[in-house]
């Protein structure tokens, strides 16, 4: 049981971290609370499923095409729906909610509400110290680790990353220093949705695809981001691991754990917020006036 908890927590933590970092970045740079973030994760999963079962072009190509397509779609959505109402915070908020609903309903209309499954991308299990780890879960873990490293490299070792961090830090000053903050927002949206799409593609074989699959990760992701501190990369990763392990422990040890896992994870988030209102690693915001 201990091994199960360790592996499940780590694998789920990887997926959650990919989602949470993207959400956190978009919030930090563009000040958009992107409720539709996990809807893109769902879209990538559907796209992957379709390409895989209808065209037979292989796992890698399907995955790459799905990620690219969903990323492009996110840019289109951003330009058409979010950008015109950027000045009105509340309008942006419900635009993203409406986008999520639209994607959910489109998928419901075109694929029906059935649970769809994708076969494992790699078969077989690895034995490690007496515990069997399916290669699929290992793949998720590796992809998540690689993407996290890539994110770190992108944000901390490239000029665009520097500009993104500057914009997140202080939008007006970044603008005055000659950074194109609108373009930065677009780059961030594309990058973040790309991360979510990758998470969707690699996690599909271990979960089932259905039109409402975006709601559960959405709540978990929000809990992680708030727990770790909005806009903090380190916070998102640690928050993701904390929440994933708490969920795994609840599921494996408590009776009725499957129902309670969300409640326990969210309870922990609330407890942390009571002690530190800005999350574990969030910067205490100066009052924005």
């Amino acid at each position: 049981m201990l091994q199960d908890i360790l592996v499940t927590g780590l694998v789920n933590g990887g997926v959650y971290a990919l989602l949470a970092i993207g959400f956190s970045l978009i919030f930090g740079v563009a000040r958009i609370v992107n409720i539709a973030h996990t809807a893109f994760y769902m879209l990538a999963a559907y796209c992957f499923y379709t390409l895989l079962t209808r065209t037979g072009i292989g796992f890698t190509l399907s995955g790459v095409i799905s990620v690219v397509a969903v990323t492009l779609l996110s840019l289109v959505c951003y330009r058409l729906v979010i950008e015109p109402v950027r000045e009105h915070e509340s309008a942006v908020l419900i635009s993203t909610i409406a986008l999520g609903l639209i994607f959910q309903e489109l998928m419901l209309a075109s694929y029906g509400g059935n649970f769809l499954g994708v076969p494992s991308t790699i078969e077989g299990v690895m034995r490690l110290g007496g515990v069997a780890i399916p290669y699929q879960r290992l793949l998720i873990l590796v992809v998540a680790a690689v993407m996290l490293a890539a994110t770190w490299f992108f944000l901390y070792r490239t000029r665009v990353g520097l500009a993104i961090r500057a914009t997140a830090n202080d939008l007006e000053v970044a603008n005055l220093m000659g950074m194109n903050v609108h373009r930065m927002a677009m780059v961030t949206v594309a990058f973040s949705v790309g991360l979510a799409a990758i998470a969707g593609v690699v996690a599909t074989p271990v979960t089932s695809i259905h039109p409402f699959m975006w709601l559960d990760p959405l709540v978990t992701m929000l809990a992680i981001v708030v727990l770790g501190g909005l806009g903090s990369l380190k916070g998102s990763i640690i928050g993701a691991l904390v929440i994933a392990y708490v969920e795994a422990i609840t599921v494996f040890t408590l009776p009725e754990g499957a129902h309670l896992k969300g409640a326990v994870a969210l309870g922990i988030m609330v407890a942390v917020l009571l002690a530190r209102p800005e999350g574990l690693f969030g910067v205490a915001f100066e009052e924005e006036r």
């Binding site: 908020l93 309903e105 409640a263 326990v264 009571l274 209102p277 999350g279």
Partner: protein
């Protein structure tokens, strides 16, 4: 006779001078008179539900619009009211007329509790943290199915009154009372303090306002109204199910509130009266039935692209003008202000419009 004349004068000077107020009057009178003219059970059923959701949306606006505590978990209060009233009337055998008040009271307690937990949070943190509360409740409900009925909820409740028309009047009158009550609160001195808290909490505190106490009060008030609506809905549908706590309902109320225009109270009510019957109506078509949520979302998106501040502020700006001198609203066709006699410019500059919007 004197009183009648007095009332008519009040009506003419205060209500009929402004098209928006006239519209509200016509709408309220229309709602009350409708069953006398047209008593189709299906239409009455939809309108009953609409009225109950209107209470819910208006209560959200008091909290989110006026006080700026944008609550993403308003369904918690709705569900708390529904479940409390359902369980109390079913397990204890108390009359539903008493348990709806108990439901509202328990909801108010939950409101106080979430307000207490969120006192130090602001902005997006508050929104995202409040999203968690109904889900914690939902998890607990599913974990103890003996008590809560699990997925099926608590069913077999008594209705408060029998008959479609009686139920309609119950919902309609409660809606009018609660909504006008909330509007009066929002328009009072208390409401001004709430505005101040939303716009600048530090300045409000520096002016000697005990902001935590105000925030807790408004959380409890808003939750009580939402719980009241939830209890009424549970007894109307004769079931209190887990759908009253779902994320979808919390998002729905946010959509209603922002679509109608925040910080107006009447805005969300208008939005519910447009959007809820619209979705039901779309659902009645065979081919549209599956697409109704999609169409709903597309409509919301399109309307927002053109009216980013919401529907009612946009309409209000179209039919009414702000007096440049005394900042009172006037009918668009007037040339002078109805109160101070200053000339009304045809074109109000953008800056003035921004100042004039509450």
């Amino acid at each position: 006779m004197y009183l009648l004349r007095r009332a008519w004068a009040e009506m003419r000077n205060e209500v009929l001078v402004l098209p928006s107020r006239t519209l509200v009057l016509v709408w309220a009178a229309g709602l009350l008179l409708l069953p006398l003219i047209y008593d189709d059970a299906y239409v009455l059923r939809i309108l009953t539900m609409t009225c109950l959701f209107a209470i819910f949306a208006a209560s959200w606006d008091l909290l989110a619009g006026y006080t700026g505590q944008v609550n993403f978990g308003h369904a918690l209060f709705f569900g708390a009211g529904a479940y409390t009233s359902a369980l109390a009337s079913l397990k204890l055998g108390v009359s539903p007329w008493l348990t709806i008040w108990l439901g509202a009271a328990v909801a108010a307690f939950f409101g106080y509790l979430s307000g207490f937990l969120c006192l130090r949070l602001r902005g997006s943190y508050l929104s995202l943290a409040t999203l968690a509360f109904p889900l914690i409740g939902l998890g607990l409900l599913f974990a103890f199915p003996d008590f809560s009925g699990g997925e099926l909820g608590v069913s077999g409740l008594q209705r408060l009154v029998t008959g479609a028309i009686a139920n309609y009047y119950l919902a309609c009158v409660s809606m009018l009372v609660v909504v006008f009550g909330l509007w009066a609160i929002a328009d009072s001195r208390f409401g001004i303090v709430l505005h101040a808290i939303r716009d600048d909490e530090v300045a409000a505190r520096a002016s000697g306002i005990n902001t935590p106490r105000y925030k807790l009060t408004v959380f409890a008030l808003s939750a009580a109204a939402a719980g009241f609506a939830g209890a009424l809905l549970a007894h109307y549908l004769r079931v209190a199910g887990p759908s009253t706590l779902e994320v979808a309902l919390s998002f729905q109320v946010v959509i209603w509130g922002i679509f109608g225009g925040v910080a107006t109270i009447y805005g969300p009510v208008v939005a519910v009266f447009i959007l809820y019957p619209l979705t039901e109506w779309l659902g009645s078509f065979k081919h549209f039935g599956e697409l109704r949520l999609l169409i709903f979302a597309v409509i919301v998106l399109l309307v927002l692209l053109f009216m980013p501040r919401g529907l009612t502020p946009w309409v209000r700006d179209k039919i009414e003008l702000l007096c440049p001198r005394c900042k009172q609203r006037n009918f668009k066709l007037r040339t002078t202000c109805r109160l101070c006699g200053a000339g009304l410019e045809a074109q109000v500059t953008r800056a003035q419009r921004l100042v004039g919007h509450q």
